[in-house]
Symmetry: C2
Subunit: 244 residues, 2 copies
């Protein structure tokens, strides 16, 4: 069986998330249906990250197995011609048998985009969280510094999640500014459920003066989701890249 690796980009707006489910269209469901059509057998894909409803990807990685000998370039082309306009295969290659999109991943980069301008966003409205309140970016950057390194991120994990080991290593985290657009870019060896969105919701409280930087640090140490800020909306989040 050949093992095919693909890089996907998609706009998550119209989907119930990456992972296949009964209610609503999903990225996985659609890609699998189109691949099955091309390869003449049922195909299951494995995704590196299970992005939520409304979350986008510029570099989601998936893999799947097939005995069909159709050249990978043809699979790539056929798939792009069948997929809807909001899903695109950027690359497809045949890879070694051991490769597993999820378990082989060493680290991933997510971005979270905030429009901090006075007017609501127009052209990029599905890709940013509109947050017009004044933000102290210096304070947000101070809080961000506490995130880098190996830490227990339980305070930023969605309540009710059953994951025992909530320690993750953040390799880098930075804030980029471009006019009214503020983008948090974060790379870690793994992410807890809602981790980026909960971090962003809490950082915005630091930025708008509702929480001190010291308090932010305390919340991380207390491992208690109820102390942290709200979950920032899905549409600002994007899976940028997965590294192996």
């Amino acid at each position: 069986m050949r093992n095919i690796k693909m890089i996907l980009a998609y706009e998550g707006t119209q989907y119930a998330g990456f992972q296949r489910q009964v209610n609503g269209p999903t990225i996985q469901g659609i890609v699998e249906a189109k691949l099955s059509q091309i390869l003449n057998h049922p195909v299951s894909i494995i995704g590196a990250g299970r992005t939520d409803a409304g979350v986008h990807a510029r570099g989601q990685v998936v893999n799947f197995r097939t005995a069909n000998l159709l050249p990978v370039a043809k699979i790539h082309k056929a798939l792009n011609s069948l997929l809807p306009e909001d899903i695109l295969v950027l690359d497809a290659v045949e890879t070694d048998q051991e490769f597993h999109a999820r378990y082989s991943a060493k680290n991933k980069t997510y971005s979270y985009s905030i429009d901090n301008g006075p007017l609501r966003p127009l052209f990029n409205r599905n890709f940013v969280y509109y947050y017009p309140r004044q933000l102290d970016l210096k304070k947000i950057r101070e809080a961000i510094d506490f995130l880098v390194g190996a830490h227990d991120f339980k305070s930023f994990q969605a309540a009710g999640t059953n994951i025992e080991n909530t320690v993750r290593k953040v390799n880098f985290c930075r804030l980029e500014e471009n006019d009214s657009l503020i983008k948090l870019v974060i790379n870690a060896d793994g992410f807890l459920y809602h981790m980026v969105r909960n971090i962003v919701g809490t950082l915005l409280m630091v930025g708008n003066g509702k929480m001190t930087v010291e308090k932010f640090r305390e919340i991380m140490e207390k491992r208690d989701r109820s102390l942290a800020g709200p979950t920032a909306p899905a549409q600002g989040l994007c899976l940028e890249a997965v590294f192996y």
Copy 2:
């Protein structure tokens, strides 16, 4: 009566164009309906340019008259809260009585965006014309040079249009490149119907080798629409700015 000038941005994808009409929603129709609701009287707006279905604007200018004394900042805010997410008022000011969005305009800038990459566009798919064939940009630039200045652009006017004076003055026209994105930016004292889209359709023939630069020049001189290239699709076009 106060004369109010506004700058509008919109994504034209879902609209039957700027100009009010019976079939399908229009920018004018929606803005007028919302303004009438805010100001408690029927409002008619005058637009600087009548963008077609699917054409976008980053700097459309409109004006309207009202006896209502509501401060212009309040009109601006109320309008943005009532307008759909794909139309946005960037600015609103009270202006002099003589100002007419269309007749007072000295010149306008349009852009036309082409995605010349190997893969179909994803995130900007409603804002570019996907044209994956190889293009000789040097040749396109040579043809563009013939456009600058005062010329009779009848060859680039939509067939069947009844406009006697088809001379327009192009103040500048340039081609910008950014990775696989190619953008034509053109400023003129006026534009004939479909002029930019017909120019682009013809320039693409120069770029792909189907037409020589000399032939392009000849076509301009012959004042015959049937000699020029096809009309490029609406979604690549954007009214960038209107100058007074």
